[in-house]
């Protein structure tokens, strides 16, 4: 079936152009066309959040976005949040507070948490729990994930204050 379309995506600041069937899901375009394998597939039905990326400033489950819908979008994945030498404050805090075990949910979880902290820089524990309720983790029981995110929030706020 060769009804392929031309797709343009900006992923983690880099422009990509490729041919894809319009029905191809964004998650597979990222993982299989662009080799960005941080976001994972846990369900393909919008329930687990393993595939979470930021698209045009919003958290989306990339298993529920056709590549045709994403055409022209700006996408951020876990690979765009920090570098090996300068980890994102959430990455640091997940390591520090044991916020992960098998790591399969982690890219989606951290990507979601990063957006959450932009949406609400001063979340309560309840805000965090509600804000990540679209991301399932089977390993950690969330307690340390919540701790990691709250700790990252206070670090971010402290450094903002220091900058002022």
């Amino acid at each position: 079936m060769s009804n392929k379309m031309h797709v343009k995506l900006n992923v983690n600041g880099e422009d990509h152009e490729f041919l894809a069937e319009p029905r191809e899901l964004l998650i597979y375009a990222l993982r299989e066309k662009l080799n960005i394998t941080g976001p994972h597939v846990g369900c393909e039905t919008s329930h687990c959040g393993a595939c979470t990326v930021t698209m045009n400033g919003k958290s989306v489950k990339s298993c529920t976005v056709f590549v045709a819908q994403a055409n022209g979008a700006e996408v951020t994945t876990i690979e765009g949040l920090g570098t090996p030498d300068a980890l994102h404050v959430l990455q640091e805090n997940f390591k520090e507070h044991h916020g992960l075990q098998c790591g399969f949910c982690t890219p989606g979880m951290i990507t979601r948490a990063a957006k959450l902290l932009e949406e609400n820089p001063n979340p309560t524990e309840e805000d965090v729990r509600f804000g990540i309720a679209g991301n399932i983790c089977r390993c950690t029981g969330y307690q340390n994930i919540v701790k990691s995110i709250l700790s990252a929030a206070s670090e971010l706020n402290a450094s903002k204050e220091a900058a002022q």
């Binding site: 079936m1 069937e21 029905r23 191809e24 597979y28 993982r31 299989e32 080799n35 960005i36 394998t37 941080g38 976001p39 994972h40 597939v41 846990g42 369900c43 393909e44 039905t45 329930h47 687990c48 393993a50 994945t77 876990i78 690979e79 920090g82 090996p84 980890l87 990455q91 997940f94 390591k95 520090e96 044991h98 992960l100 075990q101 098998c102 790591g103 399969f104 949910c105 982690t106 890219p107 951290i110 965090v128 729990r129 509600f130 990540i132 309720a133 679209g134 991301n135 399932i136 983790c137 089977r138 390993c139 950690t140 029981g141 969330y142 307690q143 340390n144 994930i145 919540v146």
Partner: protein, 808 residues
């Protein structure tokens, strides 16, 4: 030379046992650089996808693959006919049964694999699946194991002789064509006699529903047959890679040294990834047929419908006691629904796993257990979902029986437990059903837990709440869930534990490098437990090199020593012991080298943290780093160069972790919504290797327990349709539903384990399920509840309240 740093600092630098070392795995995982099976991409790789049966029981009259083959991009469509010449249309299960790889004339459960499509990409494969035309003739469906044993409908014609008689199965005589085995432990007659003459008897029937481990990553594999050099490489979601290699060799006829099995990063297992699935076999065959690598990754529905269910035990109990609450006997019968094939992942001699630990933590003089395994039109499996083999079922059973007995005796269930605990001085304790418990101090743990939660205060509050409810002042009732569990983990002694004939030892191989760092390889495989972190801690303490300079590798059968893998909390009890023993071999040789360097006799040096010191003169020493270098650069008389060791550890016994849990719950009787106010978990896993990792395991295990107790199930309708095949219907708790847990501990080391560790990953699940369930049931006890079956979802809780007239 004067030492620059203190001994305490040297200990701290090792990052050895007992410290909350941060995990070395986390750098790659937090940056999205894990390498899971679906991340593997090989040149020319094809994708496989299954045609699955929509029916739970049907004849397959014909399969037409023409339209599928005509679709551009489709390379092959395999059916049982293609596998038959290779003798791969059926495969052996871990339980001594066999299972169809692809439907051979009939299908026996909804979602069963019928044909395997291989195509250039996953989309074309999925399109082609729709184009395969299968002509089915529906047969009568049996989803109830009790009906199955009465039915004339034969599910497994291959298990019936030509004359209609029922031959023995892998576990002895069978009573009916749909019967798989009877397995017994203990003394039935003596037990009945005690129960028949007892002062008090409580009986109860309970159904432990079918559920599923559902790790976030589904199962999958990539097979690559290199026809030039005859080597097969298989990457996959394997909790036991060495066993997979042996099975793959036996099945395919490829010699074992020509097969390399690799478990890359695994996105959670919880028992789901112990078995061998048709997808693995089909990816291998497809790669052999096509000559290029073939990937198969199941989707979530396939995962829930076809791979590895857990539980599905119908349990009938009788427990007897004296009037003052001393238990005198226990009788348990289980009807075990195994689905269409007996694919339980248990040690071979234990078709019902370690269900015979069902006397729990109590000193019960006489007991009997009988288990009947039955075929139905449901998916095969019967794996241990975050527990040692069937231990969750056993602990749920006894912890419910205790509660029911407490009702019968009109006694407080906490007190009833205290009266019956196996006492500290009774260990090692041989239970009525045969196990020898290694060590325990139950009363101390129990008292600590009850004090921590102010148990007495809670009961007073609950009594007040009952008054208030009856007076119409509140619509919320309060439950106090208790559980005290003893696990049996670390399978296991080769004398009684094997899988497909492979003894359940485990292994560790260590190489010390000249500059004083090391690599160690083990026969296990982490699925999130953090082995790369914690095994290095064991070794750091044993050999005196920092954990930071010890690399741990697992999961590649070409490099790792043979081991039986990771499940049933066996990694620390068995492979952890192997690590300690291999470390001690290293130390023994290092001691000789140190003595040579220090120019004293071997016996005149002793190991101290990270060095060997001359006895009585601590300023004379050689560090382990110096010794490592000497092992490679000096010719030492009587010693081979190098510093490596390997240990295969056959444990003398299982280990028996235990714990005391309390859950406080408020339940709205009008909505059926339970609110967990408090959850206190005290675990005793013996020696603690990494408290941070232990707490993480407990949080996770409790959350999986919450899921199972409060809503998670694989439910079927009468036609054998799976009603809970997506994450829409199959309950996985989110952060919103899960409480914060309080963890606590006591330490009772295992006397037979080299470092005294017992294993912890599964305890919280084993102890958690009865604790959550007991909390719900305890809330309704003052209103006349005796027992209701899990899962206690909102609807069922509402129904319980309604049945008790609480909505009137």
């Amino acid at each position: 030379m004067k030492d620059e740093i203190t001994r305490d600092e040297r200990v701290a630098n090792l990052k050895g046992m007992g410290c909350s070392r941060k995990r070395v795995e986390d750098s790659r995982f937090t940056q999205g650089k894990g390498n899971y099976v679906d991340d593997i991409k090989l040149p020319g790789m094809l994708h496989g996808d299954f045609v699955r049966s929509p029916y739970a029981h049907a004849r397959v009259k014909s399969i037409n693959i023409d339209a599928a083959m005509a679709l551009p991009g489709v390379v092959a469509v395999l059916t049982a006919k293609d596998l038959e010449p290779l003798n791969l249309h059926w495969m052996p299960t871990l339980a001594g049964d066999k299972q169809m790889v692809l439907a051979d004339g009939k299908v026996l459960f909804q979602g069963q694999e019928v044909a395997f499509v291989v195509a250039n990409d996953r989309y074309i494969a999925a399109d082609a699946v729709e184009l395969v035309e299968v002509d089915y003739e529906e047969l009568e469906v049996i989803v109830d194991p009790f009906k199955s044993l009465q039915s004339d409908v034969v599910l497994r014609e291959d298990m019936v002789a030509e004359d209609g008689s029922v031959p023995n199965g892998a576990h002895g005589p069978r009573k009916h064509p749909n019967h798989i085995f009877t397995w017994e432990a203990g003394e039935e007659e003596a037990t009945n006699q005690v129960i028949d003459n007892a002062e008090v008897v409580a009986t109860e029937e309970m159904y432990y529903h079918r559920t599923h481990p559902c790790p976030l990553e589904t199962c999958g594999s990539v097979a690559s047959m290199d026809k030039v050099n005859g080597k097969l490489t298989l990457w996959g979601t394997f909790q036991a890679p060495h066993v997979v290699r042996t099975v793959a060799s036996l099945l395919s006829g490829i010699e074992e040294h020509n097969i390399r099995v690799v478990s890359p990063d695994i996105g959670g297992g919880f028992g789901n990834k112990v078995g061998v699935y048709p997808g693995y076999v089909c990816s291998i065959v497809a790669s052999i047929v096509t000559g290029v690598p073939v990937k198969w990754v199941e989707d979530r529905m396939e995962n829930l419908m076809s791979t590895a269910f857990a539980r599905d035990y119908w349990m009938k109990g009788k427990i007897s006691a004296t009037k003052d609450g001393k238990i005198t006997g226990l009788h348990c019968h289980v009807t075990a629904d195994h689905g269409a094939f007996d694919a339980c992942a248990d040690p071979t001699k234990f078709p019902a796993g370690f269900m015979n630990i069902c006397t729990g933590s109590y000193d019960i003089p006489v007991a009997y257990l009988g288990v009947d395994g039955v075929y139905t039109n449901k998916a095969p499996g019967g794996v241990s979902y975050r527990c040692s083999f069937r231990v969750t079922e056993a602990v749920y059973f006894i912890e419910r029986m205790i509660e029911v007995l407490a009702i019968e005796l009109n006694m407080d269930p906490a007190e009833l437990r205290s009266i019956n605990f196996i006492k500290k001085e009774q260990f090692p304790y041989t239970a009525a059903l045969g196990w020898e418990y290694d060590s325990g101090d139950y009363q101390t743990a129990w008292d600590k837990a009850l004090v921590a939660v102010d148990y007495k205060g809670l009961r007073e509050e609950q009594a007040q709440r009952v008054e208030d409810f009856k007076a119409g002042k509140t619509r919320k009732v309060m439950g106090i869930g208790l559980s005290f569990f003893t696990e049996i983990v670390g399978a296991g002694p080769v004398k009684n534990c094997d899988i497909l004939g492979m003894g359940m030892f485990d292994s560790c191989e260590i190489r010390i490098h000249p500059t004083g760092s090391a690599v160690a390889r083990l026969g296990t495989i982490s699925q999130g437990q953090g082995h790369a972190t914690t095994f290095a801690q064991i070794l750091a303490t044993e050999i005196g090199l920092s954990a930071e300079s010890i690399t741990i590798e697992e999961g590649d059968t070409d490099t790792a020593p043979y081991g039986l893998g990771t499940y049933g909390s066996r990694s620390t009890p068995v492979a952890g012991a192997a690590a300690a023993m291999a470390g001690r071999k290293i130390r023994a040789k290092a001691q000789m080298i140190a003595a040579y360097l220090l120019e004293v006799h071997d016996n005149d040096v002793e190991f101290d943290v990270d060095r060997f010191v001359v006895k009585g003169s601590p300023e004379q020493f050689k560090t382990m780093k110096e010794v490592a270098y000497a092992a490679y650069n000096q010719a030492i008389p009587g010693l081979e160069p190098g510093l490596e060791a390997v240990s295969y550890y056959d444990p003398p016994n299982m280990t028996y972790p235990f714990g005391a849990y309390v859950c406080v719950m408020d339940i709205d009787v009008d909505t059926g919504v339970p609110e967990i106010r408090r959850f206190y978990a005290l675990d005793d896993c013996g020696t603690r290797i990494n408290p941070m990792v232990i707490d993480g395991q407990i949080h996770g295990g409790l959350t999986e327990a919450l899921a199972v107790a409060l809503g998670q199930e694989i439910a079927y309708d009468d036609m054998g349709n799976v009603k809970t095949g997506t994450l829409m219907d199959f309950f996985l708790p989110t952060a919103w539903e899960v409480p914060n847990y309080e963890t606590d501990f006591t330490v009772t080391p295992s006397p037979h384990h080299p470092i005294g560790a017992k294993g912890v990953g599964e305890s919280p699940h084993v102890g958690g399920v009865p604790c959550f369930s007991n909390a719900v049931q305890d809330a309704f006890r003052p209103f006349g509840n005796r027992h209701t079956n899990m899962p206690h979802d909102h609807w069922r809780i509402w129904q319980t309240a309604n049945d008790l007239g609480m909505h009137d």
